[in-house]
Symmetry: C2
Subunit: 264 residues, 2 copies
DNA sequence: CGTTACCTTGATATCGTTCAAGTACCGTGG
DNA sequence: CCACGGTACTTGAACGATATCAAGGTAACG
């Protein structure tokens, strides 16, 4: 396990992308230079605007530098399910490399800055930077793991457990990004979005938050922007049935690292 | 879109793996030979036995040649959520390449035959067979897409819609594999498993199946093994709100194919 | 031929939804 | 600076979808 603070302070890892990939593999100067080039294109997105829309064709791959977004699917009658929250260091629309049409939408919840690139780039990376390619696979696998955990939550955890679980997860992810101060953090999403992520109604999400508050597990400030303090992290994790294994904040297995070295 | 029957009859695509990858890219003789080598290792698994267990370390990657399995996550008190059904042509434990510990379990529901390989193999494939690597990425992306749709189902569809949706999905997938005869197919899973996949109780799954039957959408034979006939596929799809887009049964985008060609 | 695993069905309980009303804060235009 | 409209949050009451519990049925299996 990599020590977070050390990692965040490393001056060579000067972007979310580099920090993310650098969590799992050691990056050489060559690799870092390539990533710098990759991030040159910049894109500013205002809060609450669509980046990708379900059913639309798309061609670009984006990487979040700052800001939050939600990734969601909708039914024809408007019901919607948020499948995950997109934070700095996450990719958007990687599927462009293999699909022509998106099966989900992505909308910003805050202003964002993105870097964009052509999917073909990844063919080069695959050939020339196998280690980076492996680290990208790692990101995908991690995202999958989070998605499976969400399915477990929505399918089998009670509303109370589920709500607690999501809060712990976001807190952990933000902490790793250096975006949470100890036990409290900004939550730039509405309760309606929480509801759509949890498979609940907004009214019930509100009640669950009140209950968590009454139970002394969290403290809330909803205005101006929602801000949450984890008052009792152990208690909250217990209520959530949280185990962090699925987040896979680990380095790649030694055997893969060895195999990579042997190839060069 | 590739024509299924044509594809199934192609004698060069003589395994589920080749057929699967061959759906998205044209495979050369070299690539086919490599895949043949890859599948040499064989493994026989009896029905209802564990292939992978949540929390265990693991090192191998498997590919299903025949048989069904379920991939699921469990909570400490025994509640469980099936995240997807593993069919011929699917990979199991690909994460071994990037994680040391599995965050889910896989159990066979029928007898199975698997081929197994070391994760390091994929470093070679990445370097020497970029097209195959792209096709594998395709498989992953497709699996993700199915997972997101499951989350949408469990989070936002009613029990009735959800049940119908899963049946249509399985029917489509089996048809593509040549494992469904027109409108009917074997379903080698218990109602308890359906319940765990749908986030419902077994009693309620049973009621939903009865209702679908009464509505003239499906016909059931539960003994000896569950067998389902789709009596009214249009009606079932309508009840499910099914749109097949998310299954992404398409070839890779032309621009990626072109970029691949340009590289050789 | 008894035991087991699974399916089926009914009665009751409960969690979460829906609907409705009310509140608080924000940004905007006068 | 204030009035206003909008968006989100909050809370209660009634309802409903689904769970739970319980009992019984039936085919398969040793």
């Amino acid at each position: 396990m990599i020590h977070i603070h050390e990692h965040l302070k490393n001056p060579r890892l000067d972007s979310p992308l580099k920090r993310k990939l650098g969590t799992f593999v050691d990056l050489t100067d060559d690799e870092l230079a390539m990533l710098t080039g990759l991030e040159r294109g910049r894109l500013e997105i205002p809060a609450r605007s669509d980046i990708l829309r379900q059913g639309d064709p798309y061609e670009k791959v984006y990487m979040v530098k700052t800001g939050w977004a939600i990734r969601y699917k909708s039914l024809s009658d408007g019901r919607r399910q948020i499948v995950n929250f997109v934070l700095p260091g996450d990719f958007i629309g990687f599927n462009a490399a293999v699909f022509m049409v998106s099966d989900f939408s992505v909308t910003s919840t805050t202003a964002m800055t993105l870097s964009s690139f052509e999917p073909e780039i990844f063919l080069d990376i695959m050939a020339k930077f196998p280690k980076v390619c492996l680290a990208i696979s790692w990101c995908h696998a991690q995202e999958d793991s989070v998605l499976r955990e969400h399915l477990l939550s929505v399918g089998r955890r009670s509303a109370y457990e589920r709500t607690a679980h999501l809060l712990v997860e976001l807190w952990r992810r933000l902490t790793l990004l250096g975006l949470a101060e100890d036990e409290h953090f900004q939550l730039p999403i509405t309760q309606e979005m929480l509801a759509d992520a949890l498979g609940l109604s907004t009214a019930h999400v509100n009640r669950m938050l009140q209950e968590l508050r009454l139970d002394g597990l969290i403290a809330l400030t909803t205005i101006p922007a929602t801000k949450i303090s984890i008052s009792d992290s152990k208690g909250l994790e217990a209520a959530a049935g949280f185990t962090e294994g699925y987040l896979h904040f680990t380095e790649i297995p030694q055997r893969m690292a060895d195999a990579l070295d042997a190839r060069t």
